[in-house]
């Protein structure tokens, strides 16, 4: 089992996703995805390490592992305002993954490691499209490594905290509206960085069957220092656009999540849960590029983002049919953090409604194959990125099947 998890990890460590309000990704456990992405009040498996470190100590088994991967099929269409022009996102499959391992040295204490991809954005509109002076393609991915410790008192209250180390890489291409003999000039920015944050949570089981959780994941300031900036410009302009180093600053926003879930029915076959996730998007007010070698043309640019903080509402339901099969459904609403005047094709964010379903099959005790499917519909949205006067209507959609394995013993 560990081997399989390890393989999965190696295979998909490089993958990431583009979806959700802004560039936050919510695909962290197939069981959670099946139930509308809830998780803050759940403690069924090692994924608690991420959703709420306070819940990890409630996991009964001494060892527990969970790993999986989603296949994100993103679709987006753009219709330019007043122009007879449409573009669609190039079809690429993004593969966000998760891996959790928890160990309980004592009945009340749990230690573990969570590795997953909570932020990312990868898309390609193509090199020739109408918005190429804003973005041609972008790949930004952050992978977090979170060693965690969790402790619970008397099966009633659990607290936990994890240290988060995030690694980020970015690769961005855009055209520059200056023409040489071969057409547009271009800019490529490529670089990586790492930084620390934390994840802390509390879980309470006040009465039998009821679980309440609160979790806070801190903001992580990703400063890509000295990324490589390569300009492809006409030779007469090379002195204005020297190949360069650039510092890029992109914040990964903090999250404050509340969750409640209740088990009921015969043998607690049923469970219903809700989550309220507040994302502190307001931290992302601009995307800053600070070039090391400055000229009269390139220097420090701050492209306004003006994101607004948003509350995501999630609900999920689980039914254990028998010892072999458990099924799940759920849904959520993820309002776009992007103001209408700042709709940027870099992150074509619309208000999104997600419908989910999933199941787990238990071939033998403690081991499960978990699958989930998320269908995410973005509302049609007209917007302008006013700093660059780029206007149109966007419509997005995602189909996200995923599969994972869990093993506890």
């Amino acid at each position: 089992m560990r081997k399989i998890s390890y393989l999965l990890l190696c295979l998909f460590l490089t993958a990431t996703a583009a979806f959700g309000g802004g560039y936050q990704v919510g695909l962290h456990s197939m069981r959670s995805i099946g139930m509308g992405l809830i998780g803050t009040s759940l403690s069924a498996d090692a994924s608690s390490l991420f959703f709420n470190p306070g819940g990890a100590a409630f996991v009964n088994e001494k060892w527990s592992f969970s790993a999986g991967m989603s296949f994100v099929f993103a679709r987006a269409t753009f219709q330019a305002k007043d122009v007879n022009y449409q573009a669609t996102l190039k079809h690429e499959v993004n593969l966000p993954f998760y891996f959790y391992a928890a160990f309980k040295p004592t009945k009340n204490l749990s230690v573990g490691l969570a590795i997953n991809a909570p932020y990312g954005n990868r898309l390609s509109w193509g090199d020739e499209w109408m918005g190429r002076y804003l973005i041609q393609n972008l790949s930004f991915k952050a992978i977090t490594y979170q060693p965690t410790v969790s402790y619970q008192f008397k099966n009633i209250i659990g607290v936990g905290i994890g240290l988060v180390y995030a690694t980020g890489t970015m690769d961005l291409n855009k055209a520059i509206p200056l023409q040489g003999a071969n057409g547009d000039a271009t800019l490529n920015v490529k670089g990586g960085t790492g930084n620390f944050g934390f994840n802390a949570g509390i879980m309470v089981h006040p009465v039998k069957g009821l679980s309440l959780g609160v979790d806070y994941r801190s903001k992580i300031e990703m400063k890509v220092k000295g990324a490589t900036a390569t300009f492809d410009v006409p030779s007469s302009l090379k002195s204005e656009f020297p190949d360069n180093k650039v510092d890029v600053m992109l914040p990964l926003p903090a999250n404050l999540d509340f969750g409640a879930s209740y088990e009921f029915g015969k043998n607690k076959q049923w469970m219903v849960g809700i989550n309220l996730c507040y994302v502190f998007w307001n931290t992302y007010d601009s995307l800053v590029f600070d070039f090391e070698t400055k000229t009269s043309t390139i220097n420090r640019t701050a492209t306004a983002a003006m994101y607004e903080s948003r509350l995501i509402e999630r609900i999920g339901l689980q039914y254990q049919i028998n010892k072999l099969v458990t099924v799940r459904v759920g849904g959520y609403y993820d309002p776009s953090p992007v103001p209408t005047d700042y709709m940027n094709p870099q992150t074509p964010s619309t208000n999104e409604t997600g419908i989910t379903c999933g199941f787990s099959i238990y071939p033998f005790k403690g081991f499960s194959i978990d699958a989930a499917f998320l269908y995410l519909m973005g509302a049609k949205r007209e917007g302008t990125f006013s700093p660059e006067n780029f206007a149109g209507t966007y419509r997005t959609g995602f189909s996200i099947p995923g599969i994972g394995l869990s093993y506890s013993f």
């Binding site: 190429r132 002076y133 509206p177 023409q179 302009l237 780029f390």
Partner: protein, 461 residues
């Protein structure tokens, strides 16, 4: 069984995932666009970079408008295309014409006052081919267009409102002679009316002011009463041509919006002459010797001296504009504006390179009055107005379209061609969209705009 249902459900959801948006739906709103005809001067002809050339014509403002009008029923828009990409520009000289190719940005070695290279170079507009002989250029200019007529673009570089109405104008302007159906007898307006447009665009009158302004004078301005007589005649002839057409008329831009007038003075202030007390005394003595004792030089900053069209000399004032044609080498090396260091003669800047404050004021007054006539005529004849005067002024501080920032700065501004008066393809696309907006606003139609990002700015070497 459940698994199968689940898989089926998944597959059906995949298929449903393609995200459709309704495409732009054009609407003519009852306006008949089937026969579109354009009339005007160089701005309409697709003239750019100081010459008429093939791709310039293909990117002409009316051609870009016509392309969009096809979505609301317009037929083909035939232009009198010239068979050369290097193009032909024309300057009238005594007894005929002097021709040259277009200009383009080139890397030119910088030279000192002796003409020796100093090791640096700069990007400047330069004639693309200096070796073609006059005969070849004249043949290219007067050769039949590469596509057969009749034509729909009656943009004739150099034509003003009166000349557009004059029969036989082709005898005076090779740009009309090259495609006129009967150059000896027809007029530009007459031929355009002969096409019996259902919709027309007229951008006429720039030359009535700009021909004078680009010569550094206000003496060649068309008298306002002449303009008032001929402009309504021109539009009236088109409206009476048979198909009861609708149309759009454009106003004349202000000279301050054009790089030709606002570039050099930003780099070379009018009072860039720095003198010591001795130098000032010497120049005062020299100018007195030549009968211009009224011009007083002093220690410190002094204005350049220029000659006015009437032959009088004056010191420049704040607000006087150098034209783009100013030979800056002569300023730097030959004492132009002060005194010739070799012959020790006063050397005023020839008036053709300076548009002084008084001339600017007179030109502005004329342009304002011309524009009032254009607007009044358009209103009386129920035409849409593309107010290019107002629109071009908005580019002085700069606008941005789809990530492309443009302004009226020469070369780096991104919308004008290398001659500083005419637009490059990107500028043409931006302007074509403004015409389309004017048509949509007046007639309540929904004509799509051009995708500006399809049209290049200046090409850098």
């Amino acid at each position: 069984m459940k698994k199968i249902i689940f898989i089926l459900l998944s597959v059906s959801l995949f298929v449903a995932c393609e995200r459709k948006i309704d495409e732009f739906s054009p609407s003519a709103n009852g306006v008949n666009f089937t026969k579109f005809v354009a009339v005007g001067n160089s701005m309409v002809a697709g003239f750019a970079d100081n010459a008429l050339y093939l791709s310039g014509q293909q990117n002409s403002i009316p051609n870009l408008v016509a392309e969009q009008l096809k979505t609301v029923g317009a037929g083909p828009f035939v232009q009198p295309l010239i068979g050369t990409e290097e193009g032909v520009g024309v300057t009238a000289v005594t007894g005929g014409f002097y021709c040259y190719t277009k200009m383009a940005l080139k890397i030119v070695p910088d030279k000192d006052c002796n003409g020796d290279p100093i090791g640096t170079s700069s990007i400047r507009p330069a004639i693309v081919n200096t070796t073609v002989d006059q005969n070849t250029l004249k043949q290219q200019l007067l050769a039949a267009p590469t596509v057969a007529g009749p034509y729909d673009n009656f943009g004739v570089p150099g034509v003003n409102v009166k000349y557009a109405c004059v029969p036989g104008y082709g005898a005076y302007n090779p740009y009309f002679a090259r495609f006129a159906s009967s150059a000896a007898t027809s007029s530009v307006i007459g031929e355009a009316a002969g096409r019996q447009p259902t919709f027309f665009m007229i951008w006429l009158g720039d030359m009535d002011a700009l021909a004078s302004a680009t010569s550094g004078t206000d003496l060649l301005l068309t008298p306002v009463d002449t303009f008032a007589k001929y402009y309504p005649l021109a539009t009236g002839a088109l409206i009476a041509s048979g198909n009861n057409p609708k149309g759009v008329a454009a106003t004349i831009p202000d000279v301050t919006s054009l790089p030709f007038f606002n570039t050099i003075s930003k780099q070379l202030p009018y009072n860039s002459v720095t003198l010591t007390a001795e130098q000032a005394a010497g120049l005062n003595f020299l100018y007195t010797q030549y009968g211009h004792g009224d011009i007083v030089w002093k220690e410190g900053q002094n204005p350049f001296v220029y000659s006015k069209p009437d032959g009088s000399w004056a010191q420049m004032q704040q607000g006087d504009l150098f034209l783009l044609t100013l030979p800056t080498d002569s300023i730097k090396c030959k004492g132009m504006g002060i005194a010739n260091p070799v012959t020790y003669e006063p050397y005023p800047i020839p008036g053709q390179y300076v548009l002084d404050v008084a001339e600017q004021a007179n030109i502005k007054t004329h342009i304002d009055q011309f524009n009032q006539i254009i607007k009044a005529t358009a209103m009386a004849q129920n035409l849409a107005v593309a107010d290019m005067n107002t629109y071009m002024k908005s580019f002085i501080s700069g606008l941005v379209f789809d990530g492309i920032a443009v302004n009226t700065t020469f070369v780096t501004g991104g919308m004008f061609s290398t001659d500083g008066v005419h637009l490059n393809p990107r500028g043409c696309a931006i302007t074509a969209n403004y015409f389309i907006q004017a048509i949509n606003a007046k007639y309540g139609c929904r004509i799509p705009e051009a995708n500006i990002t399809n049209y290049p700015g200046l090409v850098f070497p």
